[in-house]
Amino acid sequence: MTDNNVTNILMAGVGGQGTLLASEILSEVLMQAGYDVKKAEVHGMAQRGGSVVSHVRFGKKVFSSIIPEGEVDVLFGFELLETYRYLPLVKELGAVVVNNLKIAPPSVALGKRDYPTDVAAKLKELVANVHVVDGLQLAEQAGNSRTVNTVLLGALSNTLEPTHEQWIAAIKSLVPERFLDVNLKAFELGRQVC
């Protein structure tokens, strides 16, 4: 029953990449657009460079804040390996928006394991609807390499119902004043991607 009217977005990344702020902005804009919204994430260990996921669910009425396996509509990835890791949770006709960035986990940095090759190509093989975004490049173009999360939100924004104005309002309410301009620029650059 709920499957039909709840949309599920799973954000995956590495601790420190700003997934938390991105999911805050996303939840805020969805609430402003009139949906019931729930969001779940795990703090603590994840802040120390570990694997991070944030669940965002919205619809008329949302119960669980965790997305059931196999029901992710959009997998929103901040890093290639972490996106690939959570791919099994995506539903058959789901979409992937992924940042074209590799961050080596400890075993890879130590030369003991290999980072999986051609992740973007593998994602495209398994899911029809994949958008690869050069987040870091666009963030630098916006003027700050730390705005990758906002670039990616821009890329995601086109696929969702809230209006451009609602997105801008949500960013304004959550991004600190001194970083606002560069984040708004990053959002617009991301919005042009897909």
Binding site: M1, V42, H43, R48, G49, E69, G70, S107, L110
Partner: protein, 588 residues
């Protein structure tokens, strides 16, 4: 009323404000930490970090005796520390309403065990509410203050990681305008729990629970949601959300008060169903009590007892349409948490590894010293246990092995409960070595202040505990302080301490790179690898810094290490390990 999105923890904080709380105390612990951090925004509340949970609760009890409404927060394992005053506070009851918010961590996302705090409610005979989302976190907690005063009892509110760290839409309430009056009221028969008085209080505690059980049958926080009448479910907390998700047509008795249970309400509900499930996270707490009432229910035969529930796990437990997951055949490298680039603990663990120490560990960022390649931790039990563990271990070892035993503990953890262990060490003539890893903050939970950092919860200047003087005052004769970024000195001083047949304390002091306060951490330029000098010996990889990555050689070349300059913070620990002068400092 204003609608906003709040996490459970933000909602608990808001509830305290709305209910007229004026005193709040806690020790940080994931997933409870943000409750107090959010309370600081409400100026009328005196909020502070205590050195441990027992002290936090004792502060709360004192404020309640003074007539104030008080909130105390902690994680599940913190209740173990606070259990002593909690059990007796249940007997005395309150003056001002007092709520203890306990955040459990099913799945152990960042905890050493999975204990279910509902047992503490029953064990200590303290009533307990359990919210299922942020709105209920606000409503139940606010209500709990009234209930506390109405029934003369401290009240526990149980959260779990998925309540504390989930966000959902909340309608805010009006804050209480008139605060409860505070002042001294002498009532020794109520507040002095010597046997004669306590014997009189115990029957009152039992009567209170019986009265609450009846009262709870008619209160809105326990409610029945009608379904198609075929299947009944009793549930509470976040498990309610998963039950609704997986069984949309079931009739649900949702319990808001999980202790004491509304017995008559449960009997009436149960009588209507042939099949009745109890869906609860972790232990069969409700299930066993319902079964003890003579009602047949299905619970842990199906629902897992270990780990966190989720809609997916519930579906699996009940064999309901499992999703077709597209398989990834590759075995992907895991991404565990790691000490940050520039972390001051890295040099310490490198030294311990090289000295082949047997390390009794403790709870904090430094627990990550367990991870390869540092691999320098052999035990980890609970906050403060490292020192006592070292004492016990060295009692049973021969002289040679005894020298290898080193306890490591952080500044905050030492003040939490480690200090008692050190007192015992000196008193009972232990020979072990204690390292206090002082990074000037409570790192793992998100950089909170503590009595040794010089700041309070709201960032005001505070007097600092002098750790060296404190250790000496406990009777430790050998107290030395080193900068753990100085690799050779650190190793030498630890080695000397290990050799010494007396208690020795080495304080390794260097601030956490993520510290909140300005001008504490030096802004150093990043390093780079001179590829012509790197001989691919990989010595620098032995510190496991996330900023250093091994680059495999292409077409038969040797390969070399490289530094990610965005991550590197210039601590130069790697440089000290390189015998070939292959690291340079970026000068741009």
């Amino acid at each position: 009323m204003q609608k906003t999105i709040l996490s459970g923890n933000e909602a608990f904080a808001r509830a305290a404000y709305e209910a007229g709380v004026t005193v709040a105390s806690a020790y940080p612990g994931t997933p409870s930490t943000e409750i107090l951090e959010n309370i600081t925004q409400y100026e009328r509340i005196d909020a502070s970090w205590a050195p441990n949970e027992k002290v936090a609760l004792e502060v709360g009890i004192g404020a309640s005796i003074g007539g104030a409404r008080t909130i105390v927060t902690m994680k599940h394992v913190g209740v173990n520390v606070a259990a002593d005053p909690l059990f007796t506070f249940s007997y005395t009851g309150v003056r001002g309403g007092m709520v203890l918010v306990v955040a459990d961590d099913p799945e152990m996302h960042s905890s050493q065990d999975e204990q279910d705090s509902r047992h503490y409610a029953r064990f200590a005979k303290v009533p307990m509410f359990e919210p299922a989302d942020s709105q209920e976190a606000l409503d139940f907690t606010r209500l709990a203050f009234e209930v506390s005063e109405q029934f003369d009892a401290p009240i526990m509110v149980r959260s779990t990681t998925r309540i504390s760290h989930s966000k959902s839409i909340v309608e805010l309430g009006e804050p209480l305008m008139e605060l409860p009056e505070t002042g001294l009221v002498r009532d020794p028969s109520k507040f002095v729990m010597l046997p004669g008085n306590a014997r009189i209080r115990h029957p009152l505690v039992e009567k209170r629970l019986e009265e609450m059980s009846e009262w709870a049958c008619t209160q809105g926080f326990n409610r029945i949601e009608a379904g198609d009448g075929k299947l009944g479910i009793i549930t509470s907390g976040v498990a309610y959300q998963y039950a609704r998700e997986v069984f949309p047509d079931a009739d649900i008795l949702k319990l808001g008060l999980v202790y004491p249970l509304p017995k008559q309400m449960i009997r009436d509900f149960a009588a209507r169903f042939d099949t009745l499930y109890v869906i609860e996270e972790l232990d069969p707490f409700i299930e066993e009590q319902v079964k003890a009432m003579g009602i047949n229910v299905i619970g842990k035969e199906k629902v897992p007892i270990c780990g966190e529930l989720s809609p997916g796990r519930l579906r699996q437990a009940f064999d309901l349409n499992p999703p077709n997951l597209p398989p990834i055949k590759e075995d992907l490298p895991p991404r565990p948490p790691n000490m940050c680039p520039g972390c001051p603990h890295r040099g310490v663990f490198h030294a311990l590894n090289r000295l082949k120490a047997y390390v009794t560990g403790d709870i904090g960022c430094y627990t990550l010293g367990f991870m390869p390649p540092l691999s320098a931790m052999d035990t980890c039990i609970c906050m403060g246990a490292s020192i006592g563990n070292a004492t016990g271990l060295s009692k049973v070892l021969n002289e040679e092995d005894r020298k290898k035993v080193v306890a490591v503990i952080g500044d905050s953890t030492f003040l939490h409960t480690g200090i008692n262990g050190l007192m015992d060490m000196v008193y009972n003539k232990s020979t072990a070595t204690v390292l206090i890893l002082d990074n000037s903050t409570t790192g793992m939970t998100g950089r909170q202040d503590n009595p040794s950092t010089g700041f309070t919860l709201d960032g005001q200047l505070a007097d600092q505990v002098d750790l060296e003087a404190l250790c000496r005052a406990l009777g430790v004769k050998h107290v030395e302080t080193v900068d753990p970024a100085q690799m050779d000195t650190t190793r030498k001083v630890i080695k000397e301490a290990m050799e010494r047949p007396e208690v020795s304390v080495v304080i390794t002091r260097r601030p956490c790179v993520l510290i909140k306060h300005e001008n504490v951490v030096e802004d150093l330029p990043p390093l780079y690898v001179k590829t012509d000098k790197c001989v691919a010996c990989k010595a620098c990889l032995t510190i496991g810094c996330p900023a250093i990555e091994w680059e495999t050689g292409k077409d038969g070349s040797k390969g070399n290490c490289k530094v990610d300059r965005l991550l590197c913070n210039g601590c130069q620990v790697c440089m000290q390990l390189c015998k070939f002068d292959a690291f340079g400092v970026c000068d741009d």
